[in-house]
């Protein structure tokens, strides 16, 4: 096994602990935004797609890279925008009542 792989495994295990610690604090009210927000974060694989698309030297690699960039970019941009749209709606009672006065 390479040193790099062992380092990767260390990071993997540590991140599991951090992930569970951080995410177990998210209240159930926010489970849908959590899911769609993390959805956007795993779109980070698009950077791998960019590296491949940018260094491709065969038609096959060009095609694979291109499709992967399109999917990945849709995942990233769509994921963050839709999560933002959802979270914008979560309001406390005070805000809801000022709105009622306006109406």
């Amino acid at each position: 096994m390479s040193q790099e792989l062992i380092l990767g495994i260390y990071v993997f295990i540590m991140a599991i602990f951090v992930g569970f610690e951080v995410i177990s604090r998210v209240p159930s009210v926010l489970h849908t935004p959590l899911m769609s927000g993390t959805n956007a974060i795993h779109g980070i694989v698009v950077l791998g797609a960019m590296l491949i698309a940018g260094s491709a030297d065969t038609p096959l690699l060009h095609t694979l890279g291109f499709i992967a960039v399109v999917f990945g970019a849709a995942n990233v941009f769509g994921g963050f925008v839709v999560t933002d749209r959802m979270l914008e709606m979560f309001k406390k009672r005070e805000v809801a009542q000022t709105e009622k006065k306006d109406a």
Binding site: L5, F12, A15, P33, M35, L51, G54, H62, N75
Partner: protein, 465 residues
């Protein structure tokens, strides 16, 4: 040692990983959640900008065009999707991430073998797993999308020898994986990719619509895992961190959802729940039990003269798109001095937190939304419970009848309230295909019809009540 450019990229990745964690941390309260999502987006922008500096990239055309098309598509869907269609939107984006991870793994293998570089066992294993898991997540999510969008039937799809066939495909994926790791030929990797695509579809087809909260969570965690594996392939630790964070979130939600249904994850995946039980349940519908119907006018009076009302929303609320109507009714009741709360079961709807998002869209303040544990003690002091399109999550059989298929599932104890009014389209069964004793309870009144129409009528009757 890294050169200057390499160092800039490396530091940007570290900062991005920290921003992801920090962003998720801010999701622990609705007040900070929106900024948390933005913090994570900044991390993403930084990571992607840094990647563009990579010396490996020689041409930017494919990247620019691909990003443009993907971004326009993604943002268009994200801005136009109805809040009621959110579960399928999440499934679709999840599938795209899975596809990206699988394609990156395959392409990286091709690139390395072409360059004549030797691929270590660790890298090869990561490539195999990344391809397989990404592909399973892709087609699995597409099938889930189809079921949620009602392009495919929501009922479990079963056929003879299903488990045997699935086991054989899994075996094919595993053995092709071993061949890829042992050799350096791309052909078995393509075979593995294809087999994993089929496996993903086959694995979600036999799962019923009501089990989607669990399925979406699992697929979410699979895509995260695939992304983390891609990090091993590309020697990119930030990718590992980001992927694992998603994997952890998906796993946690999977466990929460299956606990909320009192079923093991394996039972959800392989049980084909809701397929077989419907015949038995139809036969057991007791003869001679009476259903008491009510009218919108009587409902309005019952609500208007109550001191406390609890509204229990279910998937039927989403189907009827009645979230705004229910909120208007609640506001009118509050003006009359009635205390109104909402009781949210963890698996109500088609994904974790589905009801919360719908009610938030209708401007219901989130402190009015109560979780199961918070609200169950309050039902005996509640004058009227209004059940809007929920069924299995309020079925007392889950608590009282050991022979019921859903026995042991934690439920909202609405039958302990003083009066219960159930809004329902017809006497059809819920997702589990089980008869609901609540509907025959002497305290229960049924208001049949489309939930939105019924609520509108109740709202009008309330004005004269």
């Amino acid at each position: 040692m890294l050169d200057f450019r390499g160092s800039v990229i490396a530091v940007s990745y570290i900062v991005a990983a920290v921003l992801f964690i920090f962003g998720l941390k801010r999701l622990s309260s609705p007040a900070t959640a929106r900024s948390g999502n933005r913090v994570a987006a900044v991390g993403m922008a930084l990571a992607l900008a840094a990647t563009l500096l990579d010396a490996q990239i020689v041409s930017y055309w494919t990247i620019a065009l691909g990003t443009l098309i993907g971004a326009v598509m993604g943002i268009y869907f994200a801005r136009t999707v109805q809040m009621t269609a959110m579960p399928q939107m999440v499934a679709l984006f999840n599938g795209m991430g899975g596809a990206t991870a699988a394609l990156v793994s395959v392409a990286e293998f091709l690139r390395l073998t072409r360059a004549g570089e030797s691929i270590g066992v660790g890298e090869a294993t990561s490539i195999v797993l990344g391809t397989a898991i990404g592909a399973i997540s892709f087609t699995g999510s597409i099938i889930a999308f189809g079921k949620l969008q009602e392009i495919l039937p929501g009922k479990p799809l079963q056929f003879p020898l299903q488990r045997l066939i699935n086991a054989l495909i899994l075996l094919a994926v595993l053995s092709l994986g071993i061949v890829v790791v042992a050799g350096s030929d791309a052909t078995p990797l393509w075979g593995l990719f294809a087999a994993a695509l089929i496996l993903g579809a086959m694995f979600v087809l036999p799962i019923g619509g009501g089990d989607m909260p669990v399925v979406i969570s699992i697929l979410n965690s699979l895509t995260g895992l695939a992304a983390a594996l891609t990090g091993f392939v590309l020697h990119n630790q930030m990718l590992v961190v980001a992927g694992v964070l998603v994997g952890a979130s998906g796993t946690l939600l999977t466990l929460l959802m299956s606990t909320a249904m009192n079923r093991s994850v394996a039972n959800v995946l392989f049980g084909a729940f809701g397929a077989a039980s419907s015949d038995a349940a139809a036969a057991s519908t007791a003869v001679g039990r009476t259903v008491r119907q009510t009218t919108p006018e009587d409902t309005a009076i019952a609500l208007a003269y109550a001191r406390s009302v609890v509204i229990v929303p279910g998937y039927g609320l989403a189907v009827a798109e009645a979230q705004h109507t229910v909120r208007e009714l609640a506001t009118d009741l509050e003006k009359r001095g009635v205390s109104v709360k909402y009781a949210i079961h963890p698996v109500a709807g088609r994904m974790p937190g589905h009801m919360n998002v719908l009610l938030a869209e209708a401007n219901v303040p989130y402190d009015q939304l109560l979780e199961m544990d918070q609200v169950n003690g309050e039902f005996p002091q509640t004058d009227v419970v209004l059940v809007v399109g929920a069924n299995d999550v309020v079925n007392p059989a889950a608590r009282d009848d050991p022979s019921s298929p859903i026995y042991g599932m934690p439920i909202l104890d609405v039958d302990r309230a003083r009066n219960i009014i159930v809004l329902k389209r017809s006497m059809g069964h819920g997702f589990a295909g089980i008869d609901n004793a609540l509907f025959y309870h002497e305290k229960t009144r049924m208001l049949f019809g489309d939930a939105r129409q019924s609520l509108t009528q109740v709202g009008q009757a309330l004005k004269t009540a």
